[in-house]
Symmetry: C2
Subunit: 403 residues, 2 copies
Amino acid sequence: MTQPAVVNQYAPFTTQTVVEFVKTLSIFDHPNRLIANEIGDGNLNLVFQLVELETNRSIIVKQALPYAKVVGESWPLSLNRAKIESESLRITAKVVPDLVPHVLHTDHELACTVMEDLSDYNILRTELISNHHYPLLAEHIGRYLAQTLFSTSDFALHPFVKKELVQKFTNPDLCKITEDLVFTDPFFDHPTNDFPTELRPAVEAIWADETLLTEVGILKFQFLTQAEALLHGDLHTGSIFVTSQSTKVIDPEFAFFGPIGFDLGQFFANIILNALSKLATTERPALLSELLRTTERTWITFAQEFTKLWDESNQEIYTNVSGILPRFLLKIWTDAIGFAGCEIVRRTIGLAHVADLDSIEDFHTQIEIKERALQLGADLIKSRTQLYSLSHFIQRIKGALRS
Amino acid sequence: MTQPAVVNQYAPFTTQTVVEFVKTLSIFDHPNRLIANEIGDGNLNLVFQLVELETNRSIIVKQALPYAKVVGESWPLSLNRAKIESESLRITAKVVPDLVPHVLHTDHELACTVMEDLSDYNILRTELISNHHYPLLAEHIGRYLAQTLFSTSDFALHPFVKKELVQKFTNPDLCKITEDLVFTDPFFDHPTNDFPTELRPAVEAIWADETLLTEVGILKFQFLTQAEALLHGDLHTGSIFVTSQSTKVIDPEFAFFGPIGFDLGQFFANIILNALSKLATTERPALLSELLRTTERTWITFAQEFTKLWDESNQEIYTNVSGILPRFLLKIWTDAIGFAGCEIVRRTIGLAHVADLDSIEDFHTQIEIKERALQLGADLIKSRTQLYSLSHFIQRIKGALRS
């Protein structure tokens, strides 16, 4: 085998240079016949699929770009997020190997991760928009969340190990995107916001609601300060790949140590946003029930699995004190509802929308549903400490979905 | 001037080598006539006073030891804490230069800090035990806390700067001492605990109180996860030097990013422990009023100064939302009461006692006062969310002080 050209200094890959790079790794038996295609549609990365012609075996090479594509090169982003993503995938694979893509190689200098190709999978958001139902989804995500979040918390790790991980997963650039786009800009009259004129009265009601702004400020401060566990950090339905039997959580480049409820809240919010979009369809009663059941079963699985891990844990003596777990689960729950509310609002009027709402064809219906989304988001944020139980929460969602 | 021997690899200083080291610095005009004495009585460090014979000018050299003296060399401690201490003193000096010793030089390799000698000052704990009153203390400590804690919080710093500081001030060894000795060991039957047999029934009541243990577990988790501001981390009355006109806060080697209420709570607790000790004296009514006024005025100064900084702040847009500051002050207050309760309990039955209680000569009185301390500590921890205001808190303390 001829030694390929050395590729060791950061530059964005082309379909040629990515092949040269992969040839240097011992992944393929026939590395001289590789075809690469750029298949990314994200905002921050290049994603190449490489296929070995002899075998049709394929892999993915994901490379971080030094800026956010969404706003051109003017928004610089640290390449360190590629390292954060690959390290997060490796840590996650220790507890839920079946629920993340397998990492084959990482190169911190080139800011890239070589991983399993998931081309047999579909993006959950697209599937939900197409009215497809995934009966195993809730169990998979509930288990993913309980395992990843418990295993990186102070209940599972020696404090020295935890503190070292907190340092390693410090992720200022990507956290700043969330701090701005989830917790700040949508709640003030900021140029990054994006909504049609017809929605302005509802948006101005958000901006004028001092009670709401107080609660969002508290939630933002929690996001900034509460290093409870290693989060995925961006767990919307575009970060989840599915088949009928399998689920894979991808793209943990926003990973950092934050409040456990944040991942749950973002997942809930994106399911709820999809449920709201069903109000524009004719098949809605059955679809809505399925979506509500998904949020219910995700929480139930999460709480059961988290409790099992808690009971088995012996790192922290306070896990033996019976009153603490219920209090802690209530905190996670309350936080999750608040964070879900923030996500619902920002996906409706902020910079980054969701196709679930924006693809509603009838414009009048779209506006009407977005108004409901804003009301529901604000309500969840303000009422989160009163929604003690799953059934309170589901009733509140049902209220918003009632026509 | 003859070039002194090079001192550049870590070894604990002797009175000879510390002089050689200081000669290499441009601090004294007559460095060839320096006299050194080891004056430390701490557990973790060497403290040398160096006097220039011609001028009687003096300085302090504080050097970290690689272990805790209190339990011999078996408890290793990172020398990095010397760096943390000197960096913390420099950051603190930016906002309250009059309330910390002036740092003249730091050497990270030798784990030492050269600083202003405070030999004109007295240790606050000793002064309080001797019934001396310091009328400026509350204003000084309230201002110290507001300035240091606000200026290192997300309300004052850009999130990139804050996150970098959180990484830099990661302090696993020293935090572990607090995690164990403040939040864990005293609440379980652990070999580090230290109390006379006569106190055992009261101690066993603590250990058997599941409600109390639940609340302490929650407070420990807050200490482990809530990176709100750069704390002093060990603000007891032995870390404060006083004259009638001036106050200096020393020894921030436990500094790390934690919950703001912790520093306040430790200070309150140590004042309250002194107040409890006055029950054994004859002059108590006047002394008790002074001590209660000190806790009251510390909080009032803290809240006023913190509010002023909040109103002047323009880094975080949410400081303009009027509902947030009262909520945040309430969190600080509630946390402070809880942390004060933990400190009162651990200083009574844990490894590190306070002279305020242990110096009570009449043994029966000492036991009786320690029982009250345990009850008060437990009560503050359990009732902290009900003690909404300063007057509730003071009433509760007065109740414990009533004979």
